[in-house]
Symmetry: C2
Subunit: 477 residues, 2 copies
C-alpha cells in the first residue's frame, strides 16, 4: 500500500480530471452501476445529517465484491477519495461526499447468501437492510438483535460502519456483539476475510476494530451475523413518573440491581406529547417522564422480572404502571417510540445528539441538558435508550433562521461535552462522522488521537477512505 | 514513536550491555521491583507452555503505571525487547521471554481500585487475579463472568492479552464481551485510556483490538470490567451418551434450537475416567461421552429450560440424565471439570490444543481428531467448551521420549489445521503465542498477515513488544 499515487493516464487535452475518472470507472462497471449525471447524483449529496450537501464526482453501485475491489484499486492508484454508503441514514454525516469523491454505494449488493441455523448465523451482502434479516428468519423462530429506528431502510454495511444499536440492544448488545465475520476489500483492492462462524480469532481482533470504523479501513461487502431465538413472549410495560430525575434514578437502580430487561427507553414530556400525537400509542399524558421497559421469556419469567422492576419503580414514586395487554398494543407502543424522530420532524426542525453516560449520571445529565438548552432559548425533547445510558436529546429549532441553527449547534456541542465530562462519550450509535469530528479533542488527548490515526494509516496510508470524517480536520500531521 | 533506536550511553568499557541495562533499570525502579540474579530469574523462564525455557535479562515488577511507563520508555529508546507477564499461566507460550528481553511482570499491581454497583463495574489493577474480583463482589450478589480454569492464579491483564474464556462464557461471553475500559501504556511510555463506564467509544474501537493482542500493542495497567448479578439459582446436569458423535450432535441441536445454557462442557471417556479418579465427582463411567449442561435462573426457569434440553438429548439417545441435587454436588461436578488439565498431568505428559469450530462440525472434528492421534500411535482425551465449539484435545505422550514429543507436536498441528479447514480457527482462548505462530499461514493469507502486522507496527514500529509471538518468525518484512 505504500506505492506513490500515480497521475491519471494522459488523454485528449481538453478532458477534465473528473471526466477522465468517469471514463475510467465506466470501463470497470456495467452502465447501470455507474451514476455521474448531475441530476442523478442529487440523491447522494447528503444523508440523514442534512446540514451539509455536496454533489459527488460519481457514484459507483457495484454488484459484486470484485467490482468493489476494481473501483477501490483504481481510486487508490490515482488518489481519488472514496465515500462508502449504505442507505444514507447516517445521523452524523458519515455518508456525505466531497465534490472530488466517488461514492461507493452498496445498495445493489442486497442478497441474503445463507441462513445457517445449525450455527445460528446469517451471511448477507452488505446492502441488505437490517430488518430484512429478521424478516427472513422470523417464521423459523429467530431474529437479528440490533434494531436501529431506521431498520426498515438502513443496511448491515452501514450498521457495521457505525456500530449501530437500537432499543433492544440493552440485553443483546450492539452490532459489534452480534457480528461474527466479514469479507472486506482493503484500499488497494485486496480482499480479506475476518472472523467466521467460529468463536474468537487467531491473531488480532481486526473484526472488532472494523466495526465502528466508519468506512475508513476498508469496504465490507459481506457479513456473517448471529441469529437469536425469539423469546417465548415479550411484554412492554409503561412506567410514568412525575419527575425526570425519578425516572432516571429508577433506570440506574434497575441496572444496579443486576436485572437486565430487553429494553429500557426513556421519554420526557415533550417527547411523549410528540409521539402520542403521531402514533396514538396510548402513552400517559399526565406524567413528566415515561419509561418503556420490555421484559421477555415465559409468562412466569416475565411476571417475576416485572415484580422486581415494579418494586424498584415504587421506591421512585412511580405514578402510572401499565402492562401491555395484547400484541397490537405492544406494536403501537413500539411504533410510537420508533417514530419519535420522524414525529418530531413534523413539528419542528431538530438536531439529535447521541452522547452516552454512565447510568449513575443519568439524572444529573438530564438536568444539565435542560439548563443548557434553556440558556440558548431553545426547547429540547428527550427520547433515548436509557438502560444503555445512550442519550438522544432532540434540540428543536427553526432551520430557516441561521441564528437559531447556530444556537442549536452550539447547545448540542455543550451537551456532548457535558456527556464526556460526566465520564461518558460523544457517541453511542450514530458515529462521529462530520458532526462530531471537531469534538474528538474534548474526549481524546493528542496521544490518543495520534494512535487512532496511526491505526487508520496502517490501512489507508493515502487517507482516501471516507476522508474528512471522524478526526479533526487539522488532526492529520 | 518513529525516532531511531539509540545506543546505550557509554560506560566503563568492561560493562556488558546486559549489566548496563540492569544498572539503568535500577535507577527507574525501587530495589524490590527489579530481579536480575540468575537464580531469581528462574521462575520467569517459562509459563504453562513448558516446551521452551529462557532466562530473561531481567524482570521488572512495577507497582505503578508511572513505573511501567518509565521502563517502557527506556526499553523503547534503547531497543530492548519487553515481555509482559501476568501469572505466567499461558498455555501457548505468550509469556516466555527471550534472553535479551526484560520481563515486565504486573503481579505487584494487584489492587481492586473501585467497585461501582451503580454502573455494575469493577476497576482493578492488571495484576489482580480473575477469581478475586468475583470473591470481592460475591457477598453483594455479583460476579465477573469469564472463568478460565486457571482463575485462581491468572490475572486480568493476562486475560485481556489472551481474550480468555472459560466454561461459563457460553452465556456471558469471553473477556472482550466483559471489558469496558483500560488504562494502557504505549511502547514509548505515553499513557492512554480506552473506553470507560459508558457504552461504545467515539472513534475506533481500540479497546476491542487490544483485547487478545497478546501484549504486543501496549501494557494494560488498569481495567474496568462488567459485573453481572448472580442468578437466583444454578444447576449443572450430567448427560451421558454411548457415542461421542451423539453428544456432539446433541450440543449442535441445543444451540440450533436457540437455547443458551450457561455452560455446555464435553468430556470423552478418557477424560471422564481421568477426572473422576482425581475429583470423585460422581461422573458416570459407563458412557462414551458426557455433557455437563448448566442452567440458571429461578426453579421454574431452570425446569422449563431443562425440559427442552432433555427432549433434545432424548432424540440423540441419551443414556444417563442426572440432575445435581445440592450445592456440594454442583461444586464437585465443576471441580472435576476444572481440574481436568491438572488431573491429566498426573497420569501422562500432554499438550492441550485450543481449536474452535462451527458447532455443526463438532462430531466430524471429534472423529477426525481421534483418527489423527491414532495414526501417530498416541492417545487423546477430549474435555472442552462444547457450546462455544471451543475444543481442547489433550494429546497424551511421554516427554522423556523425544520421538514421542515430536509425534505429539505433529499430531497437534494436524488437529489445528483440521479445525481451520472445518471453518474454524487456531485458538479459542489460549492465544497464538509461540505455540501456533507458524500455523498462522494456514489460517491467513499473506494479505491478511500483512494487514495485522501493519496494525502492530502502528503501535510498535521497532517490534520490541513481546516479539517472536503471534506471527511467523519470517513474517516480518
Amino acid at each position: 500500500m505504500s506505492e506513490a499515487i500515480q497521475f491519471l493516464p494522459p488523454r485528449d487535452s481538453v478532458m477534465s480530471r473528473r471526466a477522465a475518472i468517469v471514463t475510467d470507472l465506466a470501463e470497470l462497471l456495467p452502465p447501470e452501476c455507474l451514476v455521474h449525471e448531475a441530476r442523478e447524483l442529487v440523491p447522494f449529496e447528503t444523508d440523514a445529517f442534512v446540514s451539509y450537501r455536496r454533489l459527488p464526482l460519481a457514484v459507483a453501485l457495484p454488484k459484486t465484491t470484485a467490482q468493489v475491489a476494481a473501483v477501490l484499486k483504481y481510486c487508490h492508484r490515482y488518489g481519488v477519495p472514496v465515500v462508502p454508503r449504505g442507505a444514507g441514514t447516517s445521523l452524523s454525516g458519515g455518508a456525505i461526499p466531497q465534490e472530488d469523491a466517488v461514492v461507493l454505494c452498496l445498495s445493489k449488493m442486497a442478497r441474503i447468501l445463507e441462513l445457517d441455523y445449525a450455527n445460528r448465523t446469517a451471511t448477507v451482502q452488505a446492502g441488505v437492510t437490517n430488518l430484512s434479516i429478521s424478516e427472513a428468519v422470523g417464521t423459523d423462530g429467530f431474529f437479528y438483535a440490533p434494531d436501529p429506528s431506521s431498520q426498515l431502510a438502513c443496511t448491515i454495511g452501514g450498521n457495521i460502519g457505525m456500530n449501530s444499536g437500537g432499543a433492544h440492544c440493552l440485553k443483546y448488545g450492539v452490532t459489534t456483539n452480534n457480528l461474527l465475520g466479514v469479507k472486506m476489500v482493503l484500499v488497494d483492492g485486496a480482499v480479506i476475510e475476518l472472523g467466521g462462524k467460529h468463536l474468537d480469532a487467531s491473531g488480532y481482533d481486526l473484526l472488532g476494530l472494523i466495526c465502528g470504523s466508519e468506512g475508513q479501513l476498508g469496504i465490507v461487502t459481506e457479513a456473517t451475523v448471529r441469529l437469536i431465538a425469539k423469546p417465548e413472549g415479550a411484554r412492554p410495560v409503561l412506567f410514568g413518573f412525575e419527575a425526570s430525575e425519578a425516572a432516571g434514578a429508577c433506570v440506574a437502580d434497575i441496572i444496579a440491581s443486576g436485572i437486565i430487561p430487553v429494553a429500557i427507553e426513556f421519554m420526557d414530556k415533550p417527547a411523549i406529547e410528540i409521539c402520542e400525537a403521531f402514533a396514538h400509542a396510548g402513552y400517559p399524558l399526565d406524567v413528566a417522564a415515561l419509561l418503556i421497559v420490555e421484559v421477555e421469556g415465559s409468562e412466569a419469567e416475565m411476571d417475576a422480572m416485572l415484580q422486581s422492576i415494579v418494586e424498584i419503580a415504587r421506591r421512585h414514586q412511580v405514578k402510572t404502571v401499565r402492562e401491555c395487554q395484547s400484541a397490537t398494543e405492544a406494536a403501537l407502543i413500539w411504533k410510537g417510540r420508533k417514530s419519535a424522530f420522524g414525529a418530531t420532524g413534523r413539528i419542528a426542525d431538530y438536531i439529535c445528539m447521541d452522547g452516552t453516560v454512565p447510568l449513575s449520571k443519568l439524572s444529573y445529565v438530564l438536568n444539565k441538558t435542560a439548563e443548557i438548552v434553556e440558556s440558548f432559548g431553545l426547547r429540547v425533547a428527550n427520547v433515548f435508550h436509557a438502560g444503555d445510558g445512550n442519550m438522544h436529546p432532540l434540540i428543536l429549532f427553526n432551520a430557516n433562521d441561521p441564528a437559531d441553527a447556530a444556537k442549536a449547534e452550539a447547545a448540542g456541542n455543550e451537551i456532548l461535552k457535558l456527556c464526556v465530562d460526566a465520564g461518558g462519550c460523544l457517541t453511542g450509535e450514530h458515529g462521529v462522522g462530520i458532526e462530531k469530528r471537531d469534538l474528538m479533542r474534548h474526549q481524546y488527548s493528542e496521544v490518543d488521537l495520534h494512535q487512532q490515526m496511526a491505526v487508520r494509516a496502517a490501512f489507508d496510508e493515502g487517507w482516501i477512505m471516507n476522508p474528512s470524517k471522524v478526526f479533526p480536520l487539522d488532526g492529520r500531521a
